[in-house]
Amino acid sequence: MKFWLKMVLSILVMISVILSVSRLVMVRQNFKRSIETSANQNQNQNVLERYHLESSLIQEIQNGEEITKEKIVEQVKSLYSYMENRLEKIALYTENKELIFSNFSEIETLTIEPVFNKETDSYCLRKIKNQNYMLFSEYWSINNEVIYVIHIYDITAIYEERENQIKEMMYADIVILVIASLFIFGFSKFLTRPIEKLNKASKKISNGNFEERVFIQTNDEIGELANSFNRMADEIETKIESLNCSLQAKDDFVTGFSHEIKTPMTAIIGYADLLRFKKCDEHVSARALNYIYWEAKRLEELSYKMLSLMELSEERIELKETKIKEFIEKISAQIMLENIELKLDLEEAKLEIDESLMEVVLRNLIQNAKRANPKDNCIVVQGRVLANQKYRISVMDKGDGIPKEHIHRVTEDFYRVDKSRSKQNGGTGIGLSLCKKILKMHHCVLNIESEEKVGTTVSFELEVKKNEK
């Protein structure tokens, strides 16, 4: 059952219970009061009648007549003869409860027994054929003869009044309940609407629509719930996103890695098979062997870089105080660049670096610059001491440059600007990724500025050792 329906039903039940109990009490009180009023009235009437009867009997006595039972009956008859159409009836009984006289037509069916008593102000109620009566008894004792006078009042009107009251109240209650249920329905719908909103939103989220949010502007518990719900959804969305990202990165890495491995493998296996299967002529054999050699070299380079990457993930680094100018001059002398000139423009400073790792970084950056086909056949390595106790190393070329949309991705594993991964000029696609990781361990970042067809500057800033300079 829906919550709003529960709310409506429970409130309706509550209202009807309260209404009916209060109605019951009210009707009962009213009825009791009506009966009492009627009894008082009837009592007065009785007293009046008795007085009347007594005075007429006294007159008889004064006239010297003897009072007998018959006399009394006669008097009573005459007294009540003009009351034929009144609501009061009368019945006379002997001491042995034998009916002497009655003008009440239903007297035979009346249960009189408990009425006979000597207290005149008590009454009892009887019901005959939907008519209600109020009975009073009187006790007369004359000349050792006892006569019971029973007054019978028709009080059906009071009962009818009660019935009417109950009916009217029922109608009123039904109207009240209908109006109340409309109001409560409206209220509960209004109150549960935010819950339905929340429900819809969570359904959407569970269907994978993670950007779904709820907008509920209330300061109550539901508003709070909506806020925490939104916070939860935010959290889930970021988690899912980062999961997807890492999954994508892993996927890219595997794709890149398998491509890097498979191409040289195919060439090596293919050429080797060719050579061992057929007796090829000198020219073909030489070409095949060349390919095998260079492709194997490529695999070797790749395996070295992969190993360095793996070692790096263990985060072992040996920092050593190094004179940077001397260091760069030493390693640049070892780098073969064929017909490209390497210009050094360095200031001296003492830095704390891991020499072998820094060598990997510089070699990679210089190789990359070379692959960009610098127009002036020149690569510049610049080293400057900066004002903020930093030393900036930049590797600059005037080559092809990197298209804008690729700059932020070039440090990803196996990412190549050229989608075809053309390796006319070598490279494995993990050089910059390696540099970035090494520099991160030196607590600095790789900064790449590039413009297509103009050139590229790759730089990073290292901390200068404090006690020097």
Binding site: T263, F277, W294, D418, S420, R421
Partner: protein, 218 residues
């Protein structure tokens, strides 16, 4: 003679494909990027195109769509992308076959032949002198008369025919026909060669090359 276009940006693989296919008697042309390849396809007619997916300028998927929309040339993808979803994508776009790197030359050639046969670009029969070899039915006829060959003899004959006029190393012949390495000196290969020579009456065609192996001279 079937003309094949090889589109591959890796020079080593491109040369390998060319050497392998030309030795089988195919006429090959090469293109190193998608744009050049599209020009070639437009200008000349090819029986088959071997296409790499990751190409500069125009990639293999785009080129495939272009080829399939304008020509009815069969295309085989050759690529390092070995995931099932890549294969499905390639085949959905209309590639006739999909070969993943690293591939074996033998398998590549077999697939090339299968595709050419399917497109009726090549006959199922190879004729050398008065000998007719039906590659699909695996039967051999000499001057219209059927010759019974064992399966191994047939495979050996096919290998020699497909590499005619070339000296083949006996260890590798054994490996390719019997599928296992020649570990010790066995006479099996020589025996089969002798049976072939006798059955086909090819004493002067199947030559023994000293210290190397055998060569079919036609």
């Amino acid at each position: 003679m079937n003309r094949i276009l090889i589109v591959e940006d890796e020079m080593a693989i491109r040369d390998l494909l060319q050497i392998g296919l030309e030795s089988q008697g195919y006429q090959c042309e090469v293109a190193s990027d998608g744009e050049v390849a599209a020009d070639f396809v437009e200008q000349k007619k090819y029986d088959l195109i071997l296409l790499d997916i990751m190409l500069p300028h125009v990639d293999g998927y785009e080129l495939l769509e272009y080829i399939k929309q304008n020509f009815d040339t069969p295309v085989i993808f050759i690529t390092a992308k070995s995931q099932t979803k890549d294969k499905i994508k390639g085949l959905h776009l209309g590639a006739d076959d999909y070969i993943t790197k690293p591939f074996e030359m033998g398998e590549l050639i077999a697939r090339v032949e299968a595709i050419l046969r399917r497109f009726h670009k090549t006959s199922e029969k190879i004729e050398i002198g008065n000998i007719t070899i039906n590659v699909v039915a695996r039967t051999v006829e000499k001057a219209g008369e059927k010759i019974d060959l064992t399966p191994k003899e047939f495979d050996l004959l096919l290998l020699l025919v497909q590499n005619k006029n070339m000296a083949l190393y006996r260890e590798v012949i054994f490996e390719k026909v019997w599928g296992e390495e020649l570990e010790f000196e066995t006479r099996t290969l020589d025996l089969h060669i002798q049976r072939l020579r006798k059955k086909l009456d090819w004493k002067e065609h199947i030559k023994t090359v000293y210290r190397i192996g055998y060569r079919l001279e036609v």
